[in-house]
Symmetry: D2
Subunit: 277 residues, 4 copies
């Protein structure tokens, strides 16, 4: 099994040398190493893929001693991540993820699907995944979010994936899953933030539309972008046609962004991501 070491800290001379020295002394062999210094903030990022047996606690202790205070040090492996999917009525992202999951391609265990509507229950059941209908009807936002959080809690998900969940989440909700809440936005952000991006795109007469997978933070549609993709369109396409065409992009972008995150390729750097191949 491949292991990953993900380090983020203030830059200083000798970091690669020191870190790889620890790995070397433990007899671990580096298979791939990516390192990047963001010069603006003099911030160091390194992702190391390595092979061999090791004691994570021991390695962590040695690395912590060597690295500047406040360094973020994460070990990861490609164990399947525990996730919960949230959706509303549109099936395309949910079905994409459930199919990949059924064939072991998602590097995740889908523990449950939560929706504020009933429509997608059939789909979840086809794939033998527990489905929770948590209606928002007649509830305040706070009450509904409390109900969703209560449904999520027992699953203890590592990540929560918004697979076309069409309600805006409060900062309070988001704070429960910092950098662990991933959303697909149906436009090429920052174009067309907010509701009905395809209607907006149609009105503006753009020639390309897109989709954006991003971590959710407390600001709507402003979280760190993981992946974006686009497709060309033309004047013959209505807003509805665009939405249809856009779905193919949305689901692929979401699925690929999850792979990047679950396989330990992605760092969050304030409102941006650093992503190593």
């Amino acid at each position: 099994m491949a292991h990953f070491l993900l380090i983020q800290c203030p830059d200083e001379p000798g970091l690669v040398y020191k870190i790889t020295g620890v790995l070397f002394r433990h007899g671990l062999n580096i298979l791939r190493n990516g390192e990047f210094v963001e010069r603006e903030n003099s911030r160091f990022f390194m992702r190391t893929e390595f092979a061999g047996d090791f004691d994570p606690a021991q390695l962590l202790a040695e690395l912590t001693e060597l690295l500047p205070p406040g360094a973020s040090i994460r070990f990861s492996d490609n164990h399947p991540k525990d996730i919960v999917l949230m959706a509303t009525k549109e099936h395309h992202c949910l079905s994409e993820l459930l199919v990949r999951h059924a064939y072991g391609e998602l590097n995740a265990r889908v523990l449950a699907v939560i929706s504020n509507h009933e429509e997608l229950g059939d789909l979840a059941r086809r794939f033998d995944i527990p489905f929770h209908f948590v209606s928002h009807q007649g509830l305040t936002r706070e009450a509904h979010e409390a109900a969703v959080l209560a449904t999520l809690a027992p699953y203890r998900p590592e990540f929560v994936v918004l697979a076309k969940y069409m309600r805006i989440l409060s900062s309070e909700f988001v704070a429960h899953y910092p950098n662990r809440l991933i959303n697909i936005h149906h436009s090429f952000l920052p174009a067309f933030v907010g509701a009905n991006p395809y209607a907006q795109a149609y009105e503006r007469g753009v020639k390309i539309i897109g989709a954006t997978a991003h971590f959710v933070n407390e600001q709507l549609d402003q979280g760190p972008i993981i992946l974006q993709s686009v497709i060309p369109i033309d004047h013959t396409q209505s807003a509805r046609d665009m939405a249809q065409a856009g779905r193919d992009v949305e689901k692929i972008v979401l699925a690929r962004s999850l792979k990047l995150v679950f396989d330990g390729h992605v760092f969050v750097n304030r409102n941006k991501t650093v992503i190593f191949d």
Copy 2:
């Protein structure tokens, strides 16, 4: 030589039949025909490419009689259009167009280059094109635009192309060249309107950047979009790197959009375009 007939009018039954009947009776052979009805506004667009000899005035009279009042009927051929290029300091769009012009690939005659700086004079001279330096130093916007208009006027250009002309033009200026003023915007509109789109893109941490060629109208960066294109970027690229990468997209998008316009493929439909292959 291929001829083009471009018709735009309110939709009603029988339009294709009536229009092609006129062409048939004049012995003209249709090589390609594109027709589109925008259902929202029940508006009819047709582009016909045909071969044969004809009297434009006669054809126009017959078509006018047949078509609903207010129909726009244009004949076009692929004669080289008379154009003037405007630029500021960056060379990449201007050099792209001058090279294509030098090799007869632009379907246009570049009559002159106008700039508010002197830097690009050398480039214009390399290609034997008159260069006019019209400084904005010490002038009000009105006075500077008047000087530019006075420089443009004797050339009587069919189109004015803003090949990275970095000053905002007033509605009064734009009104002199309705649907004849083409700009390249260095972002994937409507993302990053206004100044410094690459700096904005860097700040936002996007994963794709783009460029947009559009007709200029009275609202900044809101004119009908002709063509857009994008390239992927990643966290390793600074705003300066993005600008550099973006130039390749900008110049190709601008050159291709001019080809579409000059070869009679493009209709303006309020704030959008209808473009036939």
Copy 3:
């Protein structure tokens, strides 16, 4: 409901006029019209989308009379096409089509799935589609194809879709479904014809891989291409990684090509296609 008229014949003057005249006299309104003349062979193609009630037999008779001998005249509407899917072991194209079908997005009725292996039976059953396992073990090609044909026959499919069916079909088999047999090839044809295109791509060190949806004819991988798409790759990807990445392209290209065919956008012109928007 929208109707489509698809005409292919030798070119001659007045065809658009004559054809649209018939529609006009029947009170039918043209919503979109695409016309193209392949000059090399002087061949005329026209696709007309129109609205209104009509008697197909009457219209066909009038058009046949007007058009040159040998004209192909097809009426179509967007009724769901009856199709059978064939697959082997890989699920990604089959699951893509079954999901779209379940949500009414395929413009088709999937009547059955036929496979030479048992693995995909579960998937078909999840979506309540009859699954036929027709093993090729111990059979000659002729005998196996006869068994497949016998399984297909009672469904009377309008199209047979090879959704990663990994056996080569004989000319005799293909002749049963002329221009009605659609395949997805896992490379950017004509690069990497034949087996193991991803292994070939890895060996060659290409920087882009792709997929090709095409009609099957009697020559392996030589049928008329409907749609192609690509994704960038790099040196870090093994042949296996490429295959994984390629699947996302394959399934989307296949699904989109079916939409083009089922919605009547595609003409076959010898070994090529003519496709109207």
Copy 4:
């Protein structure tokens, strides 16, 4: 000025640690580090971008001592490379490179242009670059190549760029510039090797065309690929239209591939490349 260290050798444990240790002891700060092990052949590749003053001979000696025998160790900086361009009649790649060169964007000094035709002399002269017309008329291949080599020799170019040079070069010629001869092929290799790829693409009815920049080796169109790019086409485009559309791709792909090579991003690994961001 940024420096680059490029190392290629058989893999063994501790390489990153040992190499970065040398840099650390010399007080050099790593700005970016990319490392990759090709597992198939257990081959190690590392590109390190670093800042600081150093004695290359001393560093080279220390690294040679540490690394396995046969290691390739190259220091590079982003000094402009000395290059000669070769072309035939088509201008688009040559003009692209000359314009970039004139504005300091190529990271190279274009010492001369060599052509087997006279047509491009004007272009070279517009940019004040020496132009050598070396006709192949009446010469054997050997004699013509000898004349070209004699013209090249005094310039001592670091790289020779074939900017649409349309003659096949012998193995003997290629051997003079191993991994230093870069070509643009006007197709998406390995599709359409050999002559007239656009005519081949038209005949085959493909829906995408492309271009490939590659190092030239002794086998025609088989050298290590640096970069590829594509554009969509459709049935309305003739072979000539495709060639025209293809030019935009060719020139950008060639220019970008040169930037990758000149900035020290590219390793040649037998018949492939390893390219670090």
